[in-house]
């Protein structure tokens, strides 16, 4: 009983709706055999190498350690976890580290994963540190039980590095639709801040694939330099850039294994949040993902970034601030190792007591977060909005906290969301 479907698009006002109903497209309803025999499997994009966020911060429990994290492949629904819990074995997950104040990283931390053989066997991660030493660690598997599996954290006695990889709650909080509408309103000439007040966290309730490593700060320290945000005089400043890479050539053997060879090619990169998604025009996004921090510093994307900011009404002073964060020294997360940090970015240290609280932003008293590195709880969006709006505290998004309490110890993220008996009561602010 398929009615003649209405192929209308709803972009017009009610008056035009009358008109729209006059010019219906020719009706075609699906026949019983529309879903044919010969249709191939639905197309799939393997999202395994698209970076979502990168974090870099001093361990609030022990400032002699630096915590680095990157996550990929989010929007995992609780009951999807068993199918979507593995890391792509043909991808190299790399933290680029710059510690001379320059524009190109000098060191790397590389993480690769063994293929996953079954849903109940963890993968083995191989971590290669800047000094060349390596160690291995298992991933943490998810479960569909009411309680999540505890995080498996592996510590390498030789280097003092700790490692975790597995599904966690997605720590990001942001209203994608509201933000886009707000930007649209600004570009259209009539900025409407109320569009940021939709109060819907697009990321609440979902889990994401997280890789986190904690290393002694001494392993990453280089030359004191001026590259960090808000510093007077040289500090022990390091820059972190998250990168994913694949080998140039991948061959499939007849027994099904895949052998990768050839040089590594960059697939995606990420450091400062929202740069690529909000400031780079669509036509240049792919190029941005394939470019390096040296390209940034040489001004390759300066015109794009500055152009977008100008269109959003940012004044020169604030353009300068933002440029200093993401362009001048390349797009790195710059972390000042000398600056003490006792929080992971939730106001009042609530997170370290295991409670939910609003994320800190640049207007929070005693703020030591983004753009000084990036902590899991930092409200990076409101910090950026504040700066883009020329230090205007009125331009803020009402989605300003994660939906669940973050962790109190390394890796400092919340466990993944477990399936609920009644999916309606998931308590998310979505």
């Amino acid at each position: 009983m398929f009615n003649i479907p209405n192929n209308l698009r709803r972009g017009m006002s009610v008056a035009l709706a009358i008109v729209a109903s006059m010019t219906l497209a020719f009706p075609t309803a699906p026949s019983m055999t529309a879903a044919d025999h010969a249709e191939a499997t639905l197309v799939a994009a393997d999202p395994g190498a698209d970076l979502a966020d990168v974090f870099a911060f001093l361990d609030p429990n022990d400032n002699s350690k630096v915590v680095l994290a990157m996550d990929v492949e989010g929007f995992v629904v609780p009951s999807e976890m068993l199918n979507l819990s593995f890391f792509a074995p043909d991808v190299t997950f790399r933290f680029e580290i710059e510690n001379q104040g320059g524009t190109r990283a000098e060191h790397t931390i590389d993480v690769t994963f063994s293929p996953q053989t079954s849903r109940s066997t963890p993968q083995t991660a191989t971590i290669k540190l800047p000094n060349g030493s390596t160690f291995t660690a298992p991933t943490t598997l998810p479960t569909l039980n009411a309680s999540p599996n505890p995080f498996t954290v592996t510590t390498d006695p030789a280097s003092g590095a700790s490692f975790f990889a597995g599904l966690t709650d997605d720590p990001f909080f942001f209203d994608i639709v509201g933000f886009n509408r707000f930007v649209g309103s600004v570009l259209a000439g009539s900025p409407d801040v109320t569009k940021l007040h939709r109060d819907r966290d697009s990321f609440a309730g979902y889990s994401i694939h997280m890789i986190a490593i904690s290393v002694p700060a001494s392993m990453l320290k280089g030359q004191p330099n001026n590259a960090c945000f808000g510093t007077n005089g040289p500090t022990n400043c390091i820059g972190i850039n998250g990168v994913t890479l694949r080998h140039r050539i991948a061959e499939r053997e007849s027994n099904g294994t895949v052998v990768s060879e050839g040089s590594l090619v960059q697939v995606d990169r990420m450091a400062t949040p929202a740069v690529n998604t909000a400031l780079i025009p669509f036509k240049d996004k792919n190029e941005y993902n394939a470019s390096t921090t040296a390209d940034d510093a040489s001004g390759k994307f300066a015109a794009d970034i500055v152009g977008t900011l100008r269109a959003l009404g940012t004044d020169s002073a604030h353009i300068g601030i933002l440029a200093s964060v993401a362009v001048t020294h390349g797009d790195f997360l710059r972390l000042n190792l000398d600056r003490s940090n006792t929080s992971i970015g939730v106001v009042g240290n609530a997170n370290l007591s295991g409670l939910i609280g609003p994320g800190e932003n640049i207007t929070t008293p005693g703020y030591t977060g983004f753009p000084n590195g990036r902590r899991p709880g930092d409200d990076t969006i409101n910090t950026l909005l504040f700066l883009i709006a020329n230090s205007n505290a009125a331009v803020q998004e009402t989605v300003n906290q994660n939906d669940v309490p973050l962790g109190t110890t390394f890796p400092f993220f919340a466990p993944p969301h477990q399936p609920l008996e009644n999916p309606a009561v998931d308590g998310t602010q979505n």
Binding site: M1, F2, N3, I4, P5, N6, L8, R9, R10, G11, M12, V14, A15, L16, A17, I18, V19, A20, S21, M22, T23, L24, A25, F26, P27, M32, N180, R181, V183, G184, L187, A188
Partner: protein, 523 residues
């Protein structure tokens, strides 16, 4: 001779116009979740103090019903003598597929009541809804400690459909955990949600822990099933019309009552007329009557220039005859449009795709209407003083000579009427087109053409009536002698502006559909 006695005021017309606008929100017509081949299940498990009842409904769509009627040799009517036996055997077959246990022991349910109805579905094919009530006393002691019920409906396993299980505690029974909800979402398969934001539930199992409260008539082993010794009642509901106006869903009790779905099968009765087997004179007349009625109903739906008709008449202070004329022109244009597009579709389909024509028709009409609206707007803007009384010199005679005067005074012009009527009606509605093409497919071309004429007549009638209402309402209001520049000038201008606006909209819509224009809105 047509005379306008006084300037017409259009407050009611404005109201009518606004109503038209309000009624045209494109909610779309979403079919309800029962596809043509689904078999829908409902299990209502009522746990009573000392006994248990299961109300089990199966709602079959057209194709499974067809198959079932073939298999069992039934006629799909309530007066079929084989029905009683069929029901009894089905009652047992279904029961065999319901695995019910309490504390691990199977419950030997007994049939208490059965019913069937055959509501008519799409294509005039019957659907079938079966209902059974099973009961059994419980010998377990569920008072001192809770008992556990396990239920699984294994009938028609793997067959697509809407599947619900609910567990409802009766008086003196407390549930301490149930995997099934207490309320269903379909009013026992008679009122399905149509909002397309929910996929059909797929619940066939339930587990519940329950206990009997401390009360006199809850002694274990006491059989307190009402009418326990009454013979199995069989009820055949006689609501076989299937038009979907049920009085209410099954409300419990030993007798099961079935009601047809409120959604029915959203079938277009017009297209179904084409499928009738023989066309006798009686059927032909009846079909024509129905088509006309449907055309009338269709005219009330958005489209076909009603707005433009009303707007024009509002602004031009037309008379009843104008309304009549306009209505007829729209209708003829519509009929011609359907025939034309049908002919093109059938004979020129190798070269021209129907989908491609539609948008351009829209662009053409839209441009003409917009042009017309602009013209009227200018006319009314520039038009000078109006006096109370105007001599209207007639539509057909002295058109040329009075043209200027008429234009100035903003009266109705025959040419304008014709242009407006044609352009308003020329875009044929897909329903009529489908009828025509279906008729061709069924080799009933003449019958199809005939039905479309009837349809268009019904359409005409309503349009004319609406035009009349506009005109007479205006006349009524004019007796109140409301005047002023608003009435004299701005309202007619407003209506002309509306026509222009709508015309642009139609044209724009056509351009967008044709893919020549992309409107991207970053909202």
């Amino acid at each position: 001779m047509l005379r306008i006695k006084a300037p017409s005021i259009s407050w009611p017309s404005v109201i009518v116009l606004s109503l038209c606008l309000l009624l045209t929100s494109p909610t779309g017509v979403f079919a309800h979740p029962m596809g043509n081949f689904t078999i829908n299940h409902y299990s209502g498990i009522h746990i009573q103090s000392g006994w248990i009842e299961i109300r089990y409904f199966i709602d079959m769509a057209e194709i499974p019903t067809f198959q079932e009627l073939q298999r069992s040799g039934l006629a799909g009517r309530l007066d079929d003598p084989k029905l009683r036996e069929y029901l009894s055997s089905q009652a047992q077959t279904f029961l065999d597929g319901l695995e019910t246990t309490v504390n691990g022991t199977p419950v030997k349910l007994r049939l208490v009541s059965q019913a069937v109805i055959f509501p008519i579905g799409a294509g005039n094919l019957p659907t079938m809804k079966l209902g059974f009530v099973y009961r059994r006393e419980l010998s377990e002691d569920c008072q001192t400690k809770p008992c556990q019920l396990n239920y699984e409906d294994t009938n028609f396993r793997d067959h697509a459909g809407w599947k619900e299980v609910v567990v409802v505690p009766g008086a003196g029974v407390s549930l301490s955990g149930s995997t099934a909800p207490a309320r269903d979402k379909s009013a026992q398969l008679s009122n399905y949600p149509t909002d397309l934001i929910n996929s059909p539930p797929q619940q066939v199992k339930a587990q519940a822990n329950f206990s009997f409260s401390n009360s006199l008539d809850a002694a274990p082993g006491s059989s307190s099933i009402p009418n326990k010794n009454a013979p199995t009642t069989e009820t055949h509901e006689t609501s076989g019309d299937g038009q979907g106006m049920g009085q209410g869903s099954d409300s419990g009790g030993a007798k099961v009552r079935l009601t047809p779905n409120r959604q029915g099968s959203p079938r277009n009765p017009f297209t179904e007329l084409i499928g009738t087997q023989e066309v006798s004179l009686g059927i032909a007349l009846l079909a024509a009557l129905i088509s006309a009625g449907l055309g009338a109903l269709h005219a009330l739906e958005p489209g076909h220039g009603k707005t433009i008709v009303a707007a024009y008449l509002v602004g031009s202070r037309g008379t009843a005859k104008h309304a009549l004329l306009l209505g007829m022109i729209v209708t003829s244009a519509h009929t011609a449009g359907v025939y034309l597009l049908g002919a093109i579709t059938i004979y020129a389909q190798k070269y021209i795709l129907p989908e491609r024509i539609y948008p351009f028709l829209g662009v053409l009409s839209g441009a003409l209407i917009a042009g017309m609206g602009c013209y009227l707007l200018l006319q009314r803007y520039l038009g000078a003083d109006f006096s109370h009384k105007h001599d209207y010199s007639g539509v057909t005679n002295r058109e040329l000579s009075s043209d200027i005067a008429r234009r100035r005074s903003g009266k109705v012009s025959a040419r304008q009427l014709v242009v407006l009527g044609i352009t308003g009606g020329i875009v044929p509605c897909p329903a009529a087109l489908v009828v025509l093409l279906s008729a061709v497919a069924f080799h009933r071309i003449v019958f199809g053409l005939y039905l479309i004429v009837a349809f268009s007549l019904g359409l005409a009638a309503v349009l004319i009536a609406m035009g009349m209402i506009t005109v007479y309402a205006g006349r009524v209001m004019s007796r109140l002698h409301l005047e002023g520049p608003f009435i004299q000038k701005w309202l007619p201008m407003g209506s002309a502006a509306m026509i222009t606006f709508l015309g642009f909209g139609i044209a724009l819509r056509g351009l967008t559909t044709a893919g020549l224009l992309h409107i991207r809105m970053m909202r």
